[in-house]
């Protein structure tokens, strides 16, 4: 059997299978793990075999031909699909432990359907396949986010309405483009759009605008940055990493697949070194990163905080793509993988915290490092990576993107990037300080470390981010294949060094790691040779030995966590009020609801039935006379 087909069939069949045995949760999730394992393995074996394909002809005619749905193994698709399935594999392991009686979300079958569409999106060769899988993905995601909870359903509704707008624009775009090229093939449509850019600039801009809108919506780029904070926060805790890391990449994938080749091949008006549409994209990415960072800083709910952080990170990726240069795209692809790894690690460690404590508000937690040291360590390394601090993986990709932006002289975009990544320290540390450090509340005195099955994937992720940080070649080698597949001329990248377009700016990361290690050893020696330390209780020091319980309060009340950046927030309040798209969206929703009620009332009372009949006749008569 064709391996491409197997990739689709296996999750599909198991989805229906698991639906039948949904009551046996552990079995279901184990099957889920097995499927993701199989997918990862199959994808691993597919590397380099760029001629694999599969297609089916449907008995449905469009453009005078029968419609053909086809899949192809392209380096780009493989790149995303492989790392997505690897992430899924790790999450799946976590999910087995997570979905016990209390946290049972019963979403495994739907999730398998989502994985099925996930594979379809990444390997689609024609627009119809792409659209089918895209819509399947949007819809299944709705059901997982909502997962039978009322509060989640509300958030999912928000996701759904924005997501459906995206599918609508995608459908319109696909139909327009396929009419233009008289086929659904993606490669052909790129060429025909390039041609259209030379003849009818504004039409072509409209066409790719429709696609870009869809991709921006799915990746939550400005002006659609607000849905993740709701959807990520309310989805099942073990699904949030998938939502944040894999699903936010669909838009990125779409941009690389379709928009970048068009912008690269077309003759477009320039702004500085790059074309205007690309610059617009970069600006959108910049606004997203800045805005999402600011919003993340002010969140009190940790899942919301990292939802915004995800948005900001996808903003970096889009900025990297918009440079249209080898280094930028390399950085963007690299950051996609990095984001998958470190954000999965973060969300999994938070899920472990929620699993143990059942609490999502950061200020109600604290001091968990005493009880969950491994989780803390995973979280720590993940945020170091997320903050882009060497020698962990996140640094390399951010560095590449910054270098590419500077080489293309996109000055204000790169400032936005730095702003966002500096702001990242603020929110990352806020969560660290509030959740893991500080005073442990009394009610969490008895909680335990995360179970083994959760600890394993978390540890793997931690090691992965370190390994990639030290040896970037693990990722840059496959990226070479992707870039070559996209038609860029790239030299084979080295295992240790990353290159940039600027003069004398290459960076050897392994060396950097060694240097940092030596520095660590020096400082460790200084620590060791100095005097002894004594371990004392936290309150012993700053309350000068007094017991807060004697003043009718508990020590955890001293945690400074709620208004962590209050002065800073006051600076931004006017701006946040001004740009609250969320409020605009909900007021729009209310308008629709009111219109709906009014129309419904019209039908309920139906007094004017005859009058409406006459109005209809009038419309017909007037229409006929026009």
């Amino acid at each position: 059997m064709n391996i491409m087909l197997m990739l689709l069939v296996v999750p599909l069949i198991t989805a229906f299978l698991t639906m039948a045995i949904l009551k046996h949760q552990k079995t279901v999730w184990t099957i889920f793990l097995a499927v993701s394992g199989y997918l990862s393995y199959a994808l691993f074996t597919m590397y380099g075999k760029w001629d694999l394909s599969w297609s089916i002809e449907l008995g449905f005619k469009m453009f005078g031909k029968n419609v053909v749905l086809s899949l192809i193994n392209s380096p780009l698709g493989w790149f995303f699909a492989f790392f997505a399935s690897l992430t899924t594999l790790l999450i799946a392991m976590f999910s087995i432990a997570y979905n016990d009686e209390k946290h049972d979300s019963k979403t495994a079958p739907i999730w398998l359907l989502l994985i099925f569409s996930n594979i379809g999106i990444f390997f689609a060769k024609d627009w119809l396949m792409f659209f089918i899988m895209w819509e399947a993905m949007s819809t299944t995601a709705y059901f997982i986010i909502a997962h039978g909870k009322e509060i989640s359903a509300k958030a999912a509704k928000f996701y759904l309405s924005i997501s459906l707008i995206g599918t609508s624009t995608l459908l319109l775009g696909i139909i327009l483009v396929s009419r233009l090229s008289q086929t659904f093939d993606i490669g052909v449509s790129i060429d025909s759009l390039v041609k259209l850019f030379s003849t009818n600039y504004s039409a072509a801009l409209l066409y790719i605008g429709l696609f870009i809108t869809t991709f921006l919506i799915k990746s939550a780029i400005f002006p659609f940055y607000m849905w993740p904070s709701k959807a990520y926060a309310e989805s099942p805790d073990d699904f949030t990493p998938f939502l944040s890391t894999v699903m936010s990449k669909y838009g990125v994938y779409g941009l690389i697949l379709f928009i970048l080749p068009i912008l690269a091949k077309s003759d477009l008006p320039m702004f500085g070194k790059i074309s205007q549409p690309a610059y617009m994209l970069a600006v959108l990415g910049a606004i997203t990163s800045v805005l999402a960072t600011i919003l993340a800083i002010f969140q009190t709910d940790m899942k919301k905080l990292f939802a915004y952080s995800s948005v900001a990170n996808v903003g970096y990726i889009v900025m990297g793509l918009a440079t249209m240069s080898v280094v930028g795209i390399q950085g963007a692809l690299f950051h996609s993988v990095n984001h998958m790894i470190f954000k999965t690690a973060i969300f999994l460690s938070l899920a472990a915290v929620i699993y143990r404590t059942g609490e999502r508000d950061m200020h109600k937690l604290g001091g968990l490092v005493y009880k969950m040291p491994l989780t803390f360590l995973v979280y720590l390394l993940a945020i170091i990576s997320a903050a882009g601090i060497p020698p962990l993986s996140g640094f390399t990709s951010k560095w590449l993107i910054v270098q590419a932006l500077m080489a293309q002289k996109m000055l204000f975009v790169v400032v936005a990037m730095i702003f966002a990544s500096t702001g990242a320290f603020m929110y990352l540390l806020r969560c660290l300080a509030s959740v893991f450090l500080g005073q442990l509340p009394d009610k969490y005195k008895d909680i335990k470390e995360a179970p083994l099955l959760m600890a394993i994937p978390m540890t793997i992720l931690m090691l992965l981010t370190l390994a990639i940080g030290v040896i970037p070649g693990i990722i840059t080698k496959p990226i070479d294949a992707v870039l070559t597949g996209m038609g860029y001329n790239v030299e084979p990248s080295s295992w240790t060094t990353v290159h940039t377009a600027l003069a004398k700016s290459d960076l050897n990361l392994t060396y950097l790691f060694y240097v940092f290690m030596v520095a660590c050893v020096i400082s460790l020696i200084m620590y060791l040779i100095s005097g002894k330390q004594e371990k004392i209780d936290q309150i012993d020091n700053y309350t000068a030995g007094e017991n807060p319980l004697e003043w009718d309060t508990t020590p955890d009340r001293f945690n400074f966590a709620y208004g962590f950046y209050q002065p800073f927030k006051q600076m931004f309040n006017p701006m946040l009020d001004l740009i609250s798209f969320e409020r605009w969206m909900s007021s729009f929703g209310r308008i629709v609801e009111r219109a709906s009620s009014a129309l419904s009332l019209l039908y309920t009372r139906s007094e004017g039935a005859i009058l409406m009949l006459y109005i209809g006749i009038a419309i017909l008569i007037i229409g006929g006379m026009m």
């Binding site: 170091i384 060497p390 540390l429 520095a519 660590c520 005097g531 002065p567």
Partner: protein
């Protein structure tokens, strides 16, 4: 060989940093019409602190302090000292910017682990301040990178070699002014010292540190002074022809900062950020536009 180099460079930086601190204290004292401690007082302090018994709350404190010092040392190793470097590298500015963050992160982690609200408030202010000064700092750096088409400090320093008139301070005076203000914030000197503010948050991050932790903290501070002034020298003062020249230039820059520290009152944190985002940033943007177009 490289390892020995690294150790020597580290010790050098620590030493220089500590002596600078001592000199700074002396200068401040003279400005206050006091006599002041001797210039090597900081070194003595270190020895005293390191040998004392100290209190810790959990392993995060130890980890954090070690990380902080290691991060700053690592950063220092990437800063070329008058063209010399512990090992062959391109001394990339972006690397330095991000490596410095390890120090902040380690320090932040260590002190928030203590659970003292004053320390946490201090950290929250410090990070806010960081966002404040990184923007003008990076815009200045960007100007340098654009004009040299390289993000390597060595290249930037080498481009100013030769006559004193090749120094960037003459080519981009606005950038220098912005950098001077920003540097004040980077070093946490007045008027930008809201995070340690002894009167409000009892010296903020340092409140719970004792003995060797405070010692490590002082060492970190010393190295950070070396790094920050070293960057300034490389950026605007030609990088120095030999290490002595380099250190003297550094000292000059540090003393300017100390003098400002002594004559200004303190900004509130949001005022500081606003100030940083308006004046130095504005000046730096003007400089950047002049360079780019």
């Amino acid at each position: 060989m490289v390892v020995i180099n690294i150790i020597l460079y580290s010790l050098f930086a620590i030493l220089v940093g500590l002596i600078f601190m001592g000199i700074g204290r002396k200068v401040s004292a003279r400005m206050h019409l006091r006599y002041g401690p001797p210039f090597y007082q900081s070194i003595l302090d270190i020895f005293k602190l390191m040998s004392r018994k100290s209190f810790t709350h959990n392993f995060v404190m130890d980890l954090g302090m070690v990380m902080a010092l290691a991060g700053l040392l690592g950063t220092m190793l990437y800063v070329p000292i008058a063209g010399h470097s512990a090992f062959i590298s391109n001394s990339n500015i972006i690397v330095i910017m991000y490596l410095m963050a390890i120090g902040s992160l380690g320090m932040a982690m260590a002190v928030t682990a203590s659970g003292n609200p004053n320390a946490t408030i201090g950290i929250s202010r410090a990070l806010t301040m960081m966002l404040g000064y990184e923007i003008p700092f990076f815009i200045i750096v960007l100007g340098l990178i654009i004009s040299n088409n390289s993000s390597s400090i060595s290249v930037i320093a080498a481009s100013q070699a030769g006559s004193i008139w090749n120094w960037n301070i003459w080519h981009m005076p606005l950038g220098y002014i912005a950098m001077e203000i920003t540097l004040q914030a980077m070093m946490g000197e007045k008027p930008f010292d809201a995070m340690i503010a002894p009167a409000e948050v009892a010296s903020g991050p340092m409140v719970e540190l004792s003995g060797k932790y405070l010692g490590l903290g002082l060492l970190t501070h010393a190295v950070s002074i070396f790094v920050e002034t070293g960057l300034m020298v490389n950026f605007f003062f030609g990088g120095g022809s030999n290490p002595i020249d380099f250190v003297i230039k550094q000292l000059g820059i540090y003393l300017i900062a100390v003098i400002f520290d002594n004559i200004f009152p303190r900004y509130k944190i949001e005022q500081a950020v606003k100030f940083l985002w308006i004046f130095p940033t504005g000046i730096a943007v003007v400089q950047l536009l002049l360079l780019a177009f």
